[in-house]
């Protein structure tokens, strides 16, 4: 084999989450109440548009969650006895982005530039062939290298590529739209023309126009980037010459892990404790209330800071636990998720406790109790299903705040491992760049723009989910 698959802990959790959400989707589609909620989300235009955007982010994140160690080239004399694998852990996304990953310049270069951002001493030959040193912006090694000496042709080249990409985007989009319309016409038993009209006049019970619109936007933005990224640094390069576009794409996975895995820690804690406190009351309730009041009375950032500091000491004093740097960074990321989860379960727990207390007074629960149904069975069959909407709403609402928190934590050095690419570490590394003369803005702007898109899409989807699942709002819609 040319590679050895590596299963990082966060990969396992991410794929488990994917499996769990697929299973949950399949199970919930059997229940008419849930089906209604899913339909309401499908009808929300903002929700479906943001879901389309989020899917792209998730796809990037999932590609980045398949890790392997490439096989090193063999020494000629050794034969094929033992395969040697590199210590560097790569992902499928890395493999797809190999040109972006490996083409590093010396230092800063502006987006789409062919020359470096700062002047350097360059050797030139003047008219009579004498070597001479002048200060100039040196030519980049990779950025626009295919142009050769014809640097003036850059704008024409970029324009041509963008036009080509837009044409391609248009063709792709038309194909998808046509397929969608035909599928819809089949399902409804009407002609494709009618289906097309329905999609765009908002007459169907699925916001297809929002999905197609978002898709058009995504294609028009991303295909030009993809076509240009092969030969230019579309978002420039950072201080050590690494492509910013590559870093931004790698950050997506970190953000997703922080946003999603944290809820894995939060959910069991808050569900179990909240339901127990609300259902059994008495000393159980007192104890659990004391627990979450104590935890929530410590300001969040400080508790996280204290826990992360301790984790750092633990990691630094036990280097023998990790075989590769990626594993260490990965475990640190998971520990951060764990800490974030431990500090953020309290509010959901309080909500669930209140709701359980309300539910247990209802007649159907009391009927079940008087029939002698065991407590655990009542909780599992009658209480938990009626709490799920709160859990779902909290889950999607928390995601965006976790992504934002990661950036702040990494900025104050208590976030992810410094070697792990994330929005926070990108901002942290670039924090002094605006103060330079002339200012270097692309790293910060790219990180902020991607983070904004991700968080905005998550917020919009969260609103749609809340509107669909909240029984108070669902009646009105």
């Amino acid at each position: 084999m040319d590679f050895m698959p590596v299963l990082l802990w966060s990969d396992v959790l991410i794929w488990l989450l994917v499996l769990a959400s697929v299973a949950f989707g399949a199970l919930s589609s059997r229940n008419p109440l849930w089906r209604g909620a899913w339909r309401r989300i499908g009808r929300s235009r903002a929700g479906m548009a943001s879901a389309t955007v989020l899917l792209v982010f998730v796809a990037v994140g999932l590609l980045d969650s398949l890790h392997y160690r490439p096989r090193l080239a063999e020494e000629p004399g050794q034969g094929a006895a033992a395969a040697v694998y590199g210590v560097e852990v790569l992902s499928v996304l890395d493999a797809l982005l190999t040109p972006l990953r490996t083409r590093t310049e010396k230092t800063y270069s502006a987006p789409l530039a062919t020359r470096a951002y700062a002047k350097e001493a360059v050797d030139v030959r003047d008219a009579d062939g004498q070597p001479r040193q002048i200060r100039d912006h040196p030519r980049l090694k990779y950025g626009g290298a295919h142009l050769g000496a014809d640097e003036g042709g850059r704008d024409a080249d970029i324009g041509e590529r963008v036009l080509r990409a837009c044409g391609l985007a248009l063709a792709l989009w038309s194909a998808v739209a046509a397929a969608f319309t035909v599928a819809m016409a089949r399902a409804r038993g009407c002609s494709p023309a009618q289906a097309w009209r329905r999609i765009w006049c908002n007459e169907s019970d699925f916001a297809g126009n929002a999905v197609l619109g978002a898709l058009a936007g995504l294609l028009l933005l991303n295909l030009p980037l993809a076509l240009l990224a092969g030969d230019y640094h579309v978002f420039g390069t950072d201080k050590v010459g690494q492509d910013v576009f590559y870093q931004v794409l790698k950050s997506v996975r970190t953000a997703l892990v922080i946003g999603l895995v944290t809820t894995l820690v939060t959910l069991p804690l808050s569900i179990v404790l909240g339901v127990l406190a609300g259902y059994f009351r008495g000393w159980v309730d007192d104890l659990i209330q004391y627990l979450y009041t104590t935890l929530s009375s410590i300001p969040g950032v400080l508790l996280i800071a204290a826990a992360v500091l301790m984790m750092q000491v633990l990691i630094d004093t036990h280097p023998q636990w990790f075989t590769t740097a990626a594993e260490r960074a990965d475990l640190r990321l998971l520990a951060l998720c764990f800490i974030l989860g431990l500090t953020s379960w309290t509010s959901l727990c309080r909500l669930l406790r209140g709701e359980t207390m309300k539910l247990r007074e209802l007649e159907y629960i009391q009927a079940a109790q008087s029939f002698g149904v065991a407590d655990l069975r009542i909780i599992a069959r009658h209480i938990l299903p009626n709490l799920m909407h709160i859990v779902i709403i909290a889950l999607v609402m928390d995601f965006s705040s976790m992504v934002l928190t990661e950036a702040v934590l990494s900025y104050i050095d208590i976030g992810v491992d410094p070697t792990m690419i994330s929005f926070g570490t990108m901002i942290n590394n670039a924090r002094m760049e605006l103060a330079r003369e002339p200012a270097v803005w692309w790293s910060l702007l790219a990180a902020f723009a991607f983070m904004f898109t991700l968080v905005l899409a998550a917020n919009l989807l969260a609103d749609a989910v809340r509107d669909a699942f909240d029984p108070r709002l669902a009646g009105a819609a």
Binding site: L295, S296, P299, A305, Y411
Partner: protein
């Protein structure tokens, strides 16, 4: 009322004890003082003697909970738990890594922190409530719709962006105020105005949207219909009736944070170089100064509990239906 407050204060004690035990466990049980010493001293200077000296200097050379070697009350007091945690209740926070007294440092840094946090809080509340009222006044119009869209967009932007972008634009490009720093007296406004403005803008998104929901919920109630039925103008209904009733849920969310204002803001203080408690905390975190972080955790939870009590008291002022039991 006084009896109620005293009782609440007694309820707070077990919580503070819990916070103390938790931080103690975090700082001393997860990692032994030996690990911390190694971490602080770095790789080069680690010798058993250096570690022993580091521990002795900071009082970490005692047993954790019970000192069997000591006599009398010393069994409990000659321990790390008593020396490091129990004394915090008396306001004795010990010394930072650089040898300075933490309590004195905190007292001197509170002023700059408040100079930023207090105007930020007051102006922010005023601006967000007015903005939310404006959206409510124009509800179900395009202004309301785009206002909410603006709120969602603004809450999706990272705080770091507001700070970095604002600092770049106002201080570097327009050169209106100094980039960072702090001065006492009248000159302080120059340093304070930008962090406050950025803090206010950064807070608008989420709070204005939340307040708007509260207002909209309130506006559907019967007393509002009565007020309209007797011929009041919409503005009068909003300001005299809806605003006053909606202040109850708004206050509960807001009063809790008032005591925490003393802690300052972590991010804006460190970006603007303001010598407050927020930047003190950040510096301590970056320098891995355990004593300072522990002290800040303790103070933070004390202030939070104070905020909870204040919230309960403030209820009675805004809602005469609530009485203490």
């Amino acid at each position: 009322m006084l009896a109620y407050i005293v009782r609440r204060l007694f309820y707070a004690l077990p919580i503070l004890l819990g916070v103390n035990l938790l931080t103690f466990a975090l700082f001393f049980v997860v990692n032994t003082p030996d690990d911390m010493a190694r971490m602080q001293l770095g790789v080069k200077r680690v010798t058993p003697e250096a570690i022993a000296k580091w521990k002795a200097d900071r009082g970490y050379d005692k047993p954790l909970f019970v000192n069997a070697a000591a006599s009398g009350s010393g069994v409990l007091t000659e321990t790390i738990f008593f020396g490091k945690s129990a004394r915090m209740f008396a306001g004795d926070f010990g010394r930072a890594e650089d040898g300075r007294d933490i309590a004195r440092e905190i007292a001197s840094r509170m002023g700059p922190s408040l100079a930023i946090a207090l105007p930020n809080f007051a102006i922010g509340l005023l601006v967000t409530v007015s903005f939310a009222l404006l959206l409510t006044f124009f509800r179900a119009t395009y202004l309301d719709f785009w206002g909410v869209v603006l709120c969602v967009a603004m809450m999706s932007i990272s705080t770091l962006f507001y700070i970095i972008g604002g600092q770049y634009l106002v201080s570097k490009v327009w050169r209106l105020v100094p980039i960072s720093g702090y001065g006492g007296g009248v000159e302080a406004w120059k340093f304070v105005i930008l962090p406050v403005a950025i803090g206010v803008v950064a807070g608008i998104g989420s709070s204005a949207r939340w307040y708007r929901t509260i207002f909209i919920e309130e506006i559907g109630k019967d007393y509002v219909r009565t007020a309209r039925a007797k011929g009041l103008a919409e503005a009068a209904v909003l300001f005299r009736h809806v605003l006053r009733n909606a202040m109850i849920p708004i206050l509960t969310g807001v009063v809790v944070v008032i005591p925490l204002l003393f802690m300052g803001s972590l991010l804006s203080e460190s970006f603007f170089g303001i010598p407050g408690l927020g930047s003190y905390t950040i510096d301590a975190i970056k320098a891995q100064d355990f004593a300072v972080v522990r002290a800040m955790v303790f103070i933070g939870s004390v202030l939070y509990i104070a905020g909870l009590i204040l919230t309960d008291i403030s209820y009675t002022f805004v809602d005469p239906r609530i009485r203490f039991h």
